[in-house]
Amino acid sequence: MRFRLSDDQAALQDAVRDYALREGDAGARRRAFESDTGFDADFWSGLMDLGVGGLACPEDAGGLGLGVTDLALAAEALGYAGAPGPFLGQVLAALAIDRFGSPAQKDRWLPALATGQAIGTVALAEAGDRVRAADWTARLEGGRLSGEKRQVLYPELADITVVGVAGGFALVEKDAAGQTFEALDVADRTRRIGHVAYAETPADAMPAEADAAEALVDAALVLTAADAFGGARRLLDMSVDYAKTREQFGGPIGRFQGLKHQLANMAVEVEPARGLYWYAAYAFDHGAPDARRVAALAKAHLGDVYMQTARAAVEAHGGIGYTWEYDAQIWFKRAMFDFAYLGAPSRHREHAARLAGW
């Protein structure tokens, strides 16, 4: 019974959080948020220098050979710090290529993704909430990809895109013909997404049964849940700090029991959910029989918890919390992202119910 972080894991998480917080607070987060691209090259390269891109890549590809648990710990740290950039796409692309790629594909992409020399992304969701591998309608035929994908992280920036198709995945390189990008006015400007349409786009196959391909979606759900936990925890801390320092009626507002109880209720919603995302990651890495269900439950629960915490946090701040200039809104919009990315909580609860045979 050692359901706790190893020293290495704690050190990793601290390093990622410290870096992302320091650089984020020094301006990287806001710069990315206000920019056209949502991408801060300096911040990103520093993050890659920490080895975050290669956490789950094999050691012979220059990675650390760790699992989704370690990715999730990093995701929590990045969520806490509100870190901008294509982390999620990067590590999911690497995970997909590691699991389903040919030796040549691995050789070509894993070292580059592990070190950050290349940026990767994944294109999973389709219109109509078609998120699960079994529902993907994009087709790869004769080396040509056709279909439309949504919620693609940094689609124009990525050197390599792992596209979910009927029968597995297709690898699409940056400059491949027949790609049409639709930029979106997204709420979460620290993690940009767009639509991509593929029309006879040259692409490389990575075959996988739908059930195996689905594991990539599970990993995405777990990492989103971990980000949500980190963000919710940050909003709690931010609200507590504000309550300690903001003065009204001759003292800090945090002495008023009404607000105290609201912050206590927020803590009761947030902190225990850490155990849920931990277990979802652990179950994924250990191939536990309930891994798929728990990934869905964790995404659903933390999507809700994050969003409601964000609402409560903005309320706890009053007017300032509603402004563009104060950073609470950045986490509010990250909560909106985690809530909706790859499907709202109700979808994943229904999926978990089905998997339970309910």
Partner: protein, 400 residues
């Protein structure tokens, strides 16, 4: 119990409709603003607008009758005719001036404000004084024939468009918290006044910060006595109160939510077929109906001079809570449109569901604006339920 207005008011409705048929839209007028002004002047003369304001100051000085007011608003809205102007000048400054202002102030400011010739903004909130408004620190010092004002105001709606500000400033720094404040009028178009828009999380810019650095206003541009500004700012004239109007926005929103649930898909089915969506819609509908008929009850009792009890003090928080419920269900239903910003006056994706993001964020704005929810809870507990003031919060003045 009767939900009908009754024949007297239906006759009045005919009268208003006839007036509108005759005067709106205007026959052939090219300047829309001038047309609206001319129409408003006629409507005031007929007793349809500014009903609680004396004729001497540009009002129509009618006996209070909320039902008539409601009929007028309904009929005007039906044909899109210009009604009373909105904004802090008409809703806050004018009643205050009528109650506490000097005669010259009423004469100079009220009528032009009602006609929209003068636009006002409100200078109450400060960065360090939100709920605890009376702790404001903007200073005003009398230098010769002028007040000289320095400090900062925040959450100032319309500041970038306003001609004048009515402002609370601390003029008696040695007096007790509530006794050192004066209520001044200030010209916004002067060098000592700088307006900076405050962008909201929605991307909108309805609010401003106003920086005052030696701004000046004449000695007699003070409303009420020196040091009595706190009391002056609490004055509101009794006027026609229509508790029903506020509900209609919620009702519209709920209707759109039902439409959304019909259009939205869940696993290839209309979301409206899902048990949880049906349950939640029915739950919200009950809140909406409860609010609606409570408002009819409150208005009916007000009309009869009866005390409607607790409901008056609950309305804001109740509306806020319903807004949260609607926002939460909408966020579930709109799928990945919840990843987007609300449209800023331009198109979006096909269904345009991201317009609901306005409700997701805006319902929070409502919770915060005009007395945050926790302040509302204090008011409900203390004024509505008669619970004792807490010692630690005893200093907070009126509690609102």
């Amino acid at each position: 119990m009767d939900l009908e207005l009754g024949s007297e008011y239906e006759a009045f409705r005919q009268e208003v409709a006839a007036f509108l048929a005759a005067h709106w839209p205007p026959a052939k007028e090219t300047d829309a603003r001038a047309a609206a002004s001319a129409f408003r002047e006629r409507a005031v003369a007929r007793g349809y607008l500014y009903r609680s304001i004396p004729k001497a100051y540009g009002g129509s000085e009618q006996a209070p009758d909320p039902l008539k007011g409601r009929v007028i608003r309904e009929e005007f809205a039906r044909v899109g005719a210009p009604g009373e102007l909105q904004g802090p000048g008409v809703s806050m400054l004018v009643p205050t001036l009528l109650a506490c202002g000097a005669d010259w102030q009423k004469e100079r400011f009220v009528a032009p404000t009602l006609r929209g010739e003068i636009v006002w903004c409100q200078g109450y909130s400060e960065p360090g004084a939100g709920s605890d408004l009376a702790s404001l620190r903007t200073r005003g010092a009398l230098e010769g024939e002028s007040w000289v004002i320095s400090g900062q105001k925040v959450w100032t709606t319309m500041a970038h468009l306003a001609d004048y500000m009515f402002i609370l400033v601390r003029t008696e720094p040695d007096a007790a918290k509530h006794d050192g404040i004066s209520y001044l009028l200030l010209d916004m178009k002067q060098p000592g006044v700088t307006v900076r828009p405050l962008k909201q999380m929605t991307g909108g810019r309805e609010f401003n910060e106003v920086f005052l650095d030696g701004a000046r206003t004449p000695k007699d541009w003070i409303v009420g006595e020196r040091g009595r500004g706190w009391q002056v700012s609490r004055t509101t004239l009794k006027h026609e109160r229509d508790t029903v109007g506020g509900q209609s926005r919620t009702e519209d929103m709920f209707g759109k939510l039902v439409e959304l649930a019909k259009d939205a898909q869940r696993e290839g089915q209309p979301a409206l077929a899902s048990g949880d969506v049906r349950q939640e819609l029915a739950r919200i509908e009950a809140y909406v109906l409860a609010q609606r008929y409570s408002a009819y009850r409150q208005m009916s009792m007000d009309l009869a001079g009866q005390d409607a009890g607790l409901i008056g003090v609950l309305n804001k928080l109740n509306g806020t809570m319903i807004g949260h419920h609607i926002a939460n269900l909408a966020q579930d239903l709109i799928g990945d449109a919840a990843l987007l910003m609300p449209p800023q006056g331009r198109g979006g994706n096909r269904r345009g569901d991201e317009k609901w993001v306005n409700q997701i964020m805006g319902s929070l704005g409502v919770a915060i604006a005009g007395g945050a929810s926790n302040i509302q809870r204090n008011v409900i507990a203390e004024r509505g339920l008669g619970l004792p003031r807490d010692g630690a919060e005893g200093q907070k003045g009126t509690g609102a």
